[in-house]
């Protein structure tokens, strides 16, 4: 079971001190937070993608490759990468590059984005959000698996003889999660390709996700990727910890009350009651997190939101200390003890995917032929392709 943190990259005024961090401050701090996540023994750091203030994370691969360079074991990922407004060709290129630089310690999660004005900035229309997401992923999937792609769809300009470079590390595509909380088509697509399914598990009561996760598991089995227990599920959650429950509530309340999205709405106690938010002592957070498994079955990745709503960086780092020292080790042991042996302990790592593709053979290392100026002639621009040389006249 993997544990980690996810950030939405909001730059929010600290309601207690009145301080609003500069973009420079927040970006520097997110790197500290990610590095500290590894130091306290967490497995995953995830960053969102936004193209409007007050968020800073417009360029997740740049940030994640930097974090990967500063860490040894941490898996870097996204929560989420916009599969609607990004060109799938650029996603294929950028995330393959990240995969190389991170030595395979990465994956990515795809989401649609629900901010209508962002779409036209990238030449898209939110009313087409769902077909865009589905079609774009279909293309991304092929770009990472076929050296040369001919493709045409509804939204993007057609491709003839296109090769996305660099090819994925060891010619093994990064593992992909599809994030959704209310769209059966996204769950179906995740199941069809045998990818992971992630429910952010933050804003709504769990019944909403329960049905879709069940559907995803059924369809994963239907498409022959394994049993429904073997489907790869990830969950979000948010926690705020202190040594005792009362301190946690007192410290977090001003941030909760002013938080973007749910601030000025429900009381914190109602929100704790009705959603996966846990505020309290380590034991309370452990107990609440263990209920996720009961609701959704054995799952492979748990991400906590800990750095939002204007919480100062020192508080966030302390939260990581508490998570790493008092919560995660207990959860690891408890969840491992309860896990059905049929269910995978972790989502597939790069090493797992190499093994699945090559067994004991050495992985393919694509080496391009000498530049011939285009990808159109011949079968593949890579040296291990049989038809590539014959089809091009030698001089």
């Amino acid at each position: 079971m993997q544990f980690g943190i996810m950030s939405v990259s909001d730059i929010t005024r600290d309601p207690v001190s009145g301080h609003t961090p500069s973009e420079a401050e927040r970006i520097k701090n997110i790197v500290r937070i990610a590095v500290h996540a590894e130091e306290v023994g967490l497995d995953v750091f995830a960053i969102g993608e936004h193209h409007n203030p007050p968020f800073f994370s417009s360029s997740p691969t740049t940030l994640l490759s930097h974090i990967a360079a500063l860490t040894e074991k941490l898996t870097v990922t996204t929560s989420t990468t916009l599969i609607t407004t990004n060109d799938p060709v650029r996603l294929a290129e950028e995330y393959a590059m990240l995969q190389h630089l991170a030595g395979g310690r990465m994956d990515l999660m795809l989401g649609r984005g629900n901010t209508a004005p962002v779409y036209p900035w990238f030449g898209q229309d939110i009313r087409q959000g769902l077909p865009l997401a589905l079609e774009n992923y279909n293309l991304l999937h092929r770009l990472w698996r076929e050296d040369v792609v001919d493709w045409e769809g509804q939204f993007r300009t057609p491709l003839q003889g296109f090769t996305s470079t660099p090819r994925p590390l060891d010619d093994v595509p990064p593992f992909v999660w599809h994030g959704s909380i209310r769209t059966p088509e996204i769950a179906e697509q995740a199941a069809f390709y045998g990818n992971g399914y992630f429910a952010n598990n933050i804003f709504w009561p769990k019944e909403h996700y329960q049905r879709l996760i069940k559907f995803y598991r059924q369809r994963f089995e239907h498409y022959g990727h394994g049993t429904r227990k073997q489907a790869i599920v990830g969950l979000g959650g948010q926690a705020f910890l202190a040594k005792n429950s009362q301190d946690a509530h007192d410290q977090f309340r001003p941030y909760f009350n002013e938080a973007p999205v749910y601030g000025h709405g429900p009381t914190m106690e109602d929100f704790e009651e009705m959603t996966p938010l846990s505020v309290g002592s380590p034991q309370e957070v452990i107990d609440k997190t263990l209920t996720f498994r009961e609701a959704f079955g054995d799952y492979q990745r748990q991400l906590f939101l800990v750095d939002h709503a204007g919480l100062p960086v020192d508080t966030v780092l302390q939260q990581l200390d508490l998570l790493g020292e008092h919560v995660v080790p207990v959860l690891r042991a408890e969840l491992e003890a309860r896990r059905d042996p049929e269910a995978p302990a972790n989502p597939p790592s790069h090493a797992d995917l190499i093994k699945a593709k090559y067994g004991d053979q050495a992985p393919r290392q694509p080496r391009p032929n000498a530049n011939r100026g285009d990808n159109v002639t011949g079968g593949s621009p890579y040296q291990d392709s049989e038809t590539s040389v014959e089809s091009y006249p030698t001089l």
């Binding site: 077909p131 279909n138 045409e152 088509e185 804003f203 879709l212 000025h264 429900p266 109602d270």
Partner: protein, 234 residues
């Protein structure tokens, strides 16, 4: 004989409330008429005042508290509804409007409704027909032809009793016709839905759709022969 479930939604906030009083009079007539015709009626009353504390969360985060959830469950099971609002500043009260705006779009499809409003002056008489009726049209509910409106002078006028009687009769006839259930059984798929859009009851997943084909590696592109701008024609 049928056992009908009637849900009364009242947005009156004083106690006693004239809005609640109007809703109760309509409910009594509906119950009496239905019994005369050999039916039993179970009445559930949702006093929106009791949901006030949960309203901010529902409006800002779509997070329904326990009372809201009970109200939704009652409406899902309802055969007919009496919905009554006080008129404030020339419109149905914010509490009334907010409650129905928070509900899932598909919750009330085909359900017969008596619309009722109270006000301090007869000048607000058209609020029921011009405003509340539009809201229920959006929800694809079926308001009865007779709307109920009571301002101060109506409470002493026997004509109000006549209108209540007429509205109640219309509601009972629509309940008896089984229209709401038939629409749901026979034509549910003809209405636009989204996943989970009827209080957690609309959870069928249609695998035979263009979007599902696209989700599983298919294409949205048509054949291309009829598209003069299709690059493949050149």
């Amino acid at each position: 004989m049928t056992d009908f479930r009637l849900v009364v939604v009242s947005a009156g906030v004083s106690d006693p409330s004239s809005t609640r009083l109007l809703a109760d009079r309509a409910t009594q007539r509906v119950t009496a008429l239905a019994r005369e015709r050999g039916h039993a009626v179970t009445v559930t009353t949702v006093d929106l005042r009791e949901l006030l504390q949960e309203l901010p969360a529902a409006l800002s985060s779509q997070l329904l508290g326990p009372r809201f959830t009970r109200a939704v469950d009652a409406l899902v099971a309802a055969d007919a509804i009496v919905a009554a609002a006080p008129v404030y500043k020339a419109g149905a009260s914010g509490l009334f409007t907010s409650f129905f705006q928070v509900l899932d779009n598909d919750l009330l499809i085909g359900k017969p409704v008596i619309l009722a409003a109270t006000a301090g002056t007869a000048r607000h008489a058209l609020v029921v027909d011009e405003e509340m009726r539009a809201l229920f049209a959006y929800l694809r509910a079926l308001p009865v032809p007779t709307s109920l409106f009571a301002s101060t002078e109506d409470w002493t006028d026997t004509a109000l009793g006549t209108r209540i009687d007429r509205a109640a009769r219309e509601l009972v006839l629509l309940m008896e016709s089984g229209f709401a259930r038939a629409v749901r059984d026979d034509a549910w798929g003809a209405y636009q839905h989204s996943y989970g859009s009827a209080g957690g009851t609309e959870v069928d997943i249609d695998l035979d759709s263009d979007m599902m084909r696209l989700a599983t590696g298919g294409s949205l592109r048509p054949g291309g022969e009829d598209d003069p701008f299709d690059p493949r024609r050149a």
